[in-house]
């Protein structure tokens, strides 16, 4: 199968501001420009105004979503083929210190 626009997936990214998100996003934008991704949708609970402008300027679409709300999330993911989540689900920083065995989860966005 070729990687033409017709077969290019719509990709959503959750956690774009995080450690892994910052590694993934530049490459995802490259793929978007090359039309190997037909849409790059960034999901976040809340967007910083400047960050929002930057994402849109690079061609991304943005979608607010509450991660604990099924209807909100379902709507935000409608039309998406591939979902990349870079949200941490292990470890935690508690009061500015690493708590690696806490079994807690941070939500950065």
């Amino acid at each position: 199968m070729s990687s033409s626009t017709a077969t290019a997936p719509a990709v959503a990214v959750i956690g774009h501001k995080g450690y892994i998100g910052s590694m993934v996003l530049p490459i995802a934008f490259e793929a978007l420009q090359q039309k190997r991704i037909k849409e790059l949708r960034i999901l976040s609970r809340k967007f910083d105004a400047n960050a929002l402008k930057g994402l849109i300027a690079q061609g991304a679409t943005t979608q607010n979503a509450s991660y604990n709300n099924l209807a909100s999330l379902t709507q935000a993911l409608t039309g998406i083929d591939v979902l990349i989540s870079t949200h941490i689900v292990w470890g935690a920083v508690v009061d500015g210190r690493y708590d690696g065995l806490a079994g807690r989860r941070l939500e950065g966005e």
Binding site: L70, T78, Y98
Partner: protein
């Protein structure tokens, strides 16, 4: 920044999977991006078990799931908090440094993730459910030899071996002093 504790993470992640399934998402890449602890002694650790649980829940609910696992992030491997004191040109390591150790560069994490995302959509049968990515695999002696070529002082790095127990004790002593972001994503 909002911290979720206890079972909150589970509720949150279950909602994500349910929404992805309802919305018709075809490929899901969960937030693994680290060691595959299902093959280590830490599979049931309170920190890592949630990731494994979430992965299996995703496989059950979505058409295609790709877990991407890395080794130590290259840019944050040779740091003093892990025993690599480059200012003093001394590496305190476990053993003799003759065992291969893999590291993964940040750029490779991004590149592989995006390529896997596209490929898993276009030809899902060609992408394994779990992918392990490494940029380099050398012994610590070999890494030291490589870095010695770029030494500004002309000195060679000195490797000092210690036992695993000593290393664990040292970690317990210093872990609370490590700045956020220096060892793990939030560390």
């Amino acid at each position: 920044m909002m911290g979720l504790q206890g079972d909150d993470w589970k509720e949150n992640k279950d909602t994500l999977l349910e929404a992805a399934a309802k919305a018709g998402v075809k490929v899901y890449i969960p937030s693994e991006f680290g060691t595959n602890h299902e093959i280590t002694n830490y599979a049931h650790n309170a920190t890592f078990a949630p990731k494994g649980h979430h992965f299996h829940e995703a496989v059950a609910k979505l058409p295609k799931v790709v877990g991407i696992y890395t080794s130590l992030v290259m840019e944050q491997t040779f740091i003093k908090w892990l025993g690599f004191d480059n200012d003093k040109e001394v590496w305190e390591i476990v053993g003799k440094g003759d065992v291969p150790v893999s590291i993964t560069a940040k750029k490779d994490v991004g590149r592989f993730t995006v390529e896997a995302a596209i490929m898993a959509f276009q030809t899902p049968e060609k992408v394994p459910e779990k992918c392990q990515i490494h940029t380099f695999t050398y012994t610590l002696q070999q890494y030291a030899d490589i870095l010695d070529k770029y030494s500004e002082t002309g000195n060679k790095l000195k490797l000092q071996g210690k036992t695993l127990e000593e290393a664990k004790e040292n970690w317990e002593q210093i872990k609370d002093t490590i700045p956020i972001g220096m060892v793990s994503p939030r560390h």
